[in-house]
Symmetry: C2
């Protein structure tokens, strides 16, 4: 076993993840001196992050005192902003939801109005959980567009008019704590990993109005050089019939212009289907309407062509589908599987799991909570907090 760091943050992580249950475990795990470990554990107890209680089994000598992570040492706010909804939850430090509420909004109303609504919901759920603003240790926010992660400012978000460069963290200034903002797909990917508790390489593909992808390497969000990794909605897709579709980005034949929710609605209307929203197309497919089924399955085939290339390149353990169109379930996944198994290398495709999210409505909030908790309990942050 590798001997690992003995910082306060590292010791806390060992207890949180169940690798250590006592000071003796921590000494064995880190190779640090008993004095060093004890001093840091005392700091963590003083900071209310660890608690002592009960006695474990002795392996000779005095039975060790059990250490526990105090997941109620504080709480985090999780804000899931969508194009037409805002959901807010307050969770404890193990991402257990204590209270949650949501509201319909229009993201195009702009940051001031929408974030005021988010803050109103935050105060409501905090009160419901019997907590005060001072209990909030961190805030996590997912937004439906690209974000500069280091500053929490949206960067030319196509469906969020008025939000470009808006300092989202400033809207949560009343809590006097760090605010982490990322795009909804990365946040949902974290949420999916949280639910699955996995350390694998995973793609979380959101098929909604647009198409995006959260890239998970070894259980962590992979962002790339400029933080734009996973931006698969504008990958070029050749059409078998030579058809050209102009995307809202100005380019031709982008994946989402052919197989996103907007494209699905456009094609359904063009085929004479009496629908006015993507949701209606998806519901028709879910109820077995032949025409809707074929449209959804075709979208799946197109998405699968792109995913087949990414499977060869990235060789993931799993692909999880989420977003409004993923609610269509079987026909979408069947189209995707058909294309992936036909075009990906057998070695990479053999044990690849392709599934629809179990909790699509929850993963945004859960991921935002996990992002906030990971920020608050990052080893450096804990080291600084306890040595103040």
């Amino acid at each position: 076993m590798a001997i690992s760091s003995a910082s306060a943050g590292a010791l806390l992580r060992h207890v949180r993840t169940g690798r250590a249950r006592s000071r003796a475990d921590l000494v064995a795990l880190t190779g640090a001196s008993r004095n060093t470990v004890s001093a840091r554990v005392d700091q963590l107890i003083a900071a209310n992050l660890l608690e002592e209680g009960g006695r474990g089994w002795s392996t000779g000598g005095r039975p060790p005192t059990i250490l526990r992570f105090n997941s109620r040492a504080g709480c985090v706010l999780a804000v899931d902003l969508g194009a037409t909804s805002v959901d807010v939850a307050v969770t404890d430090l193990s991402a257990q939801i204590l209270a949650t509420d949501g509201h319909r909004i229009d993201i195009a109303e702009g940051p001031v109005a929408v974030l005021a609504e988010a803050d109103r919901l935050a105060q409501k759920v905090l009160a419901e959980a019997g907590l005060a603003p001072a209990d909030v240790c961190a805030v996590g926010v997912g937004v439906p567009g690209p974000v500069e992660f280091s500053t929490g400012r949206p960067s030319h978000p196509p469906i969020m008019p008025g939000w470009h460069d808006y300092p989202i963290p400033s809207a949560f200034g009343r809590y006097g704590c760090p605010v982490y903002v990322d795009n909804d797909v990365n946040v949902m990917a974290l949420g999916e990993m949280g639910i699955a508790g996995s350390m694998q390489d995973v793609l979380v593909v959101k098929v909604g109005t647009g198409i995006g992808c959260g890239v998970i390497v070894d259980g962590q969000v992979y962002r790339g050089a400029q933080g734009s990794a996973g931006d698969i909605g504008h990958i070029y897709v050749a059409q078998p019939d030579g058809r050209t579709v102009v995307c809202r980005c100005g380019n031709e034949n982008c994946l989402e212009a052919i197989a996103g929710g907007g494209a699905l609605l456009r094609d359904a209307v063009a085929a004479g289907m009496p629908v006015s929203t993507v949701r209606e197309v998806v519901e028709r497919a879910a109820h077995g309407d032949g025409q809707a089924l074929e449209l959804v399955r075709n979208a799946g085939r197109t998405i699968g062509t792109v995913l087949a290339a990414l499977v060869n390149f990235f060789n993931p353990h799993r692909i999880v589908l989420t977003g409004g169109v993923a609610q269509a379930g079987v026909p979408l996944i069947a189209g995707i599987r058909e294309a992936v198994y036909r075009r990906a290398m057998p070695l990479a495709a053999r044990s690849l799991e392709i599934t629809v999210s179990d909790a699509p409505d929850l993963s945004g909030r859960l991921g935002a909570a996990l992002m906030a908790i990971e920020g608050f309990l990052a080893e450096d942050a804990v080291d600084q907090a306890v040595s103040r």
Copy 2:
């Protein structure tokens, strides 16, 4: 600054990478007790991996004794197997080449004959460097096909008949040390990173007879779920003219069937060019032959179409081109850049560097040496070695 592990392996890494130059630095860096650090440093000195000498500047009190990594504590063998060549080098533990030699072979002669030749070269370079088999701490081997990294056995390698499942490490049993085997593209990617000394997200794309890609995440080789990450040669590419090309894998329109070296030669011959090898086509392009230039540039455009998708998905800092066809230089890279800048998202393409390898002949050996050194000096391995 994050406080980090105080294992012997971690202490050695701090000294190797220049982060620490004395016991006092190591205490400050790890937070471990002075006694713990001193005991482990003594073990590392006893194992001949660290040496003490000279005195540093004092910042008050006794000036500290300087610690140095002893990169001549041992050597590693680096074996670079190609389809038609084997190159072997012996390097010290900082990947400095002490002696090297190569020979033309045909990989299809099979593992016994080819590895016997590799071993003969290994003994020759060891003797040339004045070293004995007992000095070899690890062996690194790059092979032109897929390998199960954990066992060092090729897995159905298409251009290596007779090599499937052959235990390559057994051929180096005489050295009584770990043998690490990986595919040539991953090994070359490590070599490129070694030369650049970078911790970035990088794609190293080999355009030879086939096309493959080494994926580097944060300075480390990324392998994926089954170790097949980077296998981009069989990604489907639609042809603008609707043409269908059957690949040697049996599928249609794989990237390498359209734009690899084999395809380049096929198209050159079909166009009436008096050539019989890819190298001749590449040389003609390098000398300004219009027809050859256009073929190479077209191959670049096709490769660029796939890379544009991967740039959106992976958002790398750099793409490095290597392999025989990359020797064509400007026309290939111009075709690739044209397609990438036309089809990748501006944010991801903006500061992306696309370059040809500076040392394509060396990166295989250097990468194999770095793989062996990283294995030998992995923190766990050092911890075990010094506590024996």
